[in-house]
Symmetry: C2
Subunit: 149 residues, 2 copies
DNA sequence: TTGCAAATGATAATCTTTCTCATTATTGGG
DNA sequence: CCCAATAATGAGAAAGATTATCATTTGCAA
């Protein structure tokens, strides 16, 4: 038996719940992801994972990220720039969306229930059930007195 | 001299209006694009262009598509599948959005002014001016009476 | 028509992601 | 606790999409 004093990250728990074999590398990647609140690409994820476990390979990061996506643990995003980026999948509550700062490239998350239901309504009216929404808006900061980097 | 009875496509006209050099290849690609009402990728565009002018190179299609995008003539889209897809940019009126059929992968365009203004409002409230909206929803056809395989 | 700058074609190079395969690690059963 | 079956990993090759290179050709203004 294993005592519960090796505190697995929330995502590692999820990994186990889905019946996925919990290897050291997956534990590491799950930890790194649980620890991130941004939208890293694989290269960045690999950098962070190596900090925790230097013997990890980038091939494993690619494999794991794909596995997690297929199991609903991660969501893949495309913000341009040619590389896929990842974030922890939302729970059962409302989706969230992304505003991309046109100047800095920074990604800002937002939620909006009115938007949720409007989209669901539009899709329903077209004869479909909504499965996924991919929405990112690009915006330029309103010049309002101060400057912004 | 050339008489004005070789009717350039609308996109070729636009190309000229932007001060871009109007080469034979660009004329061909512009024609093919004006003739398309779907969302072809570069490979598909190349296939269609070769039908019109067999001496065109795929490198030129890549270059032209990028040039047109930089000049606001085309919009690049990502519907998954690893290849960029292109469509003629909207005029000054409302954007349009995309519903992707989860079963067939077909892309269905739609417009919605309520959505337009809701998005603009949200973005404004966050301190930004809306530049671009990238929205595609994935939906599954509602089973309505009959069975579905 | 002529010349020059820019575009093109063919292909090499680059970049991201997936695949291959020999080696290693995990997990369940004795 | 140990073993074997089985799946995961590492390293690098391979694939797929896109961009860069460079010699040659072409559009366009004078």
């Amino acid at each position: 038996m294993k005592e519960p004093n090796s505190p697995d990250s929330p995502l590692a728990e999820l990994c186990r719940q889905r019946g996925l074999k919990l290897t050291g590398q997956r534990r590491t990647i799950a930890f790194v992801l649980s620890d991130s609140d941004d939208h890293p690409d694989v290269e960045e994820l690999y950098r962070r994972a190596v900090e925790v476990d230097p013997r990890i390979s980038i091939a494993t990061v690619y494999r794991t990220v794909r596995l997690f996506e297929e199991n609903g643990i991660l969501q893949r995003r495309d913000f341009g720039g040619g590389r896929a980026r990842y974030e922890v999948a939302d729970g059962d509550q409302g989706d969230h969306y992304h505003l991309i700062d046109a100047d800095s490239g920074r990604v800002i998350e937002f939620e909006n229930t009115e938007l949720d239901s409007l989209l669901a309504g539009i899709v329903r009216q077209m004869g479909y059930d909504l499965v996924t929404t991919r929405l990112s808006v690009v915006g330029r900061p309103k010049a309002k007195g101060g400057t912004r980097d």
